[in-house]
């Protein structure tokens, strides 16, 4: 599971940090692992194309590498395309078979980005509990 590419993204995460004035920010966690990820997104003037994405977080190599890889993919994606991302899309990015018990680590970053976009669009209650992908 720990191919060089995953270790590289874990040790040198891409787009790691915060944006100056993001259109939306969202945080989520996996309580049992202690994985926490914050996603920040800038939208283009059309209000739906992702112009920039940054993340910060703390967690296992799978969750951090997946968030790093996702942050690269998000650039230029529309919020509808983000919403359509499925678990397989994330594991394809990782390029490895993620064992069943680790899937929740892999999809945390995607879930945080999707929930953040939905809250921004008024489709999800911002006062709802923070994103939890625990199953």
């Amino acid at each position: 599971m720990y191919r060089q590419q995953i270790l590289d993204h874990y040790k040198n995460p891409r787009n790691y940090g915060e944006l100056e004035d993001p259109d939306f920010t969202h945080v989520g966690e996996n309580p049992s692992c202690g994985d926490t990820i914050q996603m920040e997104v800038d939208l283009a003037d059309d209000g739906e194309t992702i112009a920039a994405a940054r993340f910060t977080g703390d967690g296992c190599a799978i969750s951090m590498a997946a968030a790093s890889m996702l942050s690269e993919e998000l650039h230029g994606m529309t919020t509808d395309e983000l919403d359509a991302l499925e678990t397989d899309d994330v594991t394809d990015l990782l390029g490895v078979d993620v064992s069943p018990m680790r899937i929740k680590c892999a999809v945390l970053g995607r879930q945080v980005a999707q929930d953040g976009a939905k809250i921004h669009a008024g489709e999800l209650d911002p006062n709802a509990e923070r994103t939890i992908t625990e199953e």
Binding site: Y2, K11, G34, C60, A61, S99
Partner: protein, 425 residues
């Protein structure tokens, strides 16, 4: 430390009773059992979560289903009588095993958690009020911690925690301060499932009783691997689970002093636990059946008795010596590795488990890599989230040993931990 040459019993011969130890892993985890892609020897070090079941116990359970499967306490027919006698005698076996006065003090539950909830509901909800306090420790398993937390919230009782010192032992001065005249219950883990700390139960019991409180010890991690006598410990309640001691899942034990159990109302109502029922009211069966409503886990109860006979045939003192040998060896070998942090007391003062972290490697990543080496460990918070918060870590990896484990298996663990550390360096 040199690898010890002598085990307290013949481990190699004993392993023959556990065919699962011969299987390989590494293949597709979505299909149970060994498959063509399983290519690495299993090294099972997750015994604090659940132990394996030896053939004699499996045979006892299979024999019940094959030859006298029947409901208990209901039929006059022979099969029901055979099942009832075996199921009732299983309570006697447990009573002898833990030093209880008799079967009246031995209630079969689903597991330790249910035993804890039984007392919390049947005694705690009925008895506690805002003037009372319940004393736990910071190293309690969620089975105790969450349960009393909820009972405290419902009754207004103050729930307080005896602090854990940096060496993983209880602060007994803090215990003396927290246990006071308003203490109704002290609920304390006998051996910590995370730190491996062996808590001084009888000392805590005498402190509790001086203040006229009750004490409940959680024996889930102690009963499987050392002689335990509830009279020596002087506890009022005690609980443990069958599946951590060579028995099946679905069976646990609540020990309670007979007078206490008699004073308590039932926790579950229904069949099996009643004596006389009218449209208006009901009366209860004698102990222990009063607390065993509905069809119980019959095969599992009989299986638990077989498991007790199995580990008694090895000898609990010898099992304890074997666990100490492996835990001390693992503690020393892991301590020698740079970047490894071990939680809990030093090697010769702990139960048979070692929880640790490797600097820069998340516990779940470490566990995944260990799995590639065939090594099964627990990774996570081990149902002690507040303790992990205190330790300042989100999760840890825990290796835990049982009767069939060997020094060579500890060596595989250490090799795999070293490889994981180097991969992430």
């Amino acid at each position: 430390m040199e690898a010890p040459e002598q085990y307290p019993f013949d481990v190699a011969a004993l392993r023959a009773d556990f065919p699962i130890l011969e299987r390989s892993v590494g293949g597709d985890p979505t299909t149970p059992g060994e498959g063509p892609d399983d290519d690495v020897d299993l090294v099972y070090l997750d015994n604090a979560a659940t132990s394996h079941t030896p053939d004699p116990v499996v045979e006892t359970i299979a024999d019940y289903y094959r030859t006298y499967n029947s409901n208990v306490h209901r039929g006059i027919h022979q099969l029901s009588q055979e099942a009832s006698v075996a199921y009732e005698e299983a309570h006697d076996t447990v009573a002898d095993f833990i030093g209880a006065a008799g079967r009246e003090e031995v209630i079969f539950t689903k597991n330790t958690t249910e035993a804890m909830n039984l007392v919390a509901y049947a005694w705690g909800l009925e008895t506690l009020g805002p003037e009372d306090n319940v004393v736990l420790t910071e190293m309690e398993h969620h089975a105790s911690l969450v349960t009393w937390q909820q009972i405290g919230a419902r009754t207004g009782a103050d729930v307080r925690y005896i602090e854990v010192e940096s060496d993983g032992t209880l602060d007994m001065d803090d215990a003396a301060a927290k246990i006071d005249d308003d203490t109704a219950m002290v609920s304390v883990v006998h051996i910590s499932n995370t730190l491996g700390t062996v808590n001084p139960i009888s000392e805590l019991a005498s402190m509790t009783h001086e203040h006229d409180g009750l004490i409940f010890a959680d024996g889930a991690q102690s009963v499987p691997n050392r002689p335990v006598d509830v009279a020596d410990l002087d506890v009022d309640f005690f609980a443990f689970s069958g599946h951590k001691m060579c028995g099946p899942t679905g069976i646990g034990v609540l020990y309670g002093r007979q007078a206490l159990l008699e004073s308590m109302q039932p926790y579950l109502y229904g069949g099996e636990m009643i004596r006389k029922v009218t449209f208006e009211e009901s009366t209860w069966e004698d102990l222990p059946w009063k607390f065993e409503a509905g069809t119980p886990s019959i095969a599992q109860g009989i299986g638990l008795a077989a498991a007790i006979e199995y580990i008694e045939s090895i000898g609990l003192e010898r099992i304890e010596a074997h666990e100490e040998l492996l835990a001390e060896y693992a503690h020393e070998q892991l301590s020698d590795l740079d970047g490894v942090e071990i939680y809990g007391p030093a090697g010769d003062e702990r139960g048979g488990l070692v929880a640790f972290n490797v600097d820069g490697v998340h516990a779940h990543d470490l566990s995944s890599i260990l799995n590639d080496y065939g090594v099964a460990v627990r990774a996570g918070d081990h149902c002690t989230q507040p303790l992990h918060d205190k330790l300042g870590v989100a999760a840890s990896v825990r290796a835990s040993f049982y009767v069939y484990n060997t020094v060579e298996e500890v060596d595989v663990l250490v090799e795999a931990v070293t490889a994981a550390r180097d991969l992430f360096a």
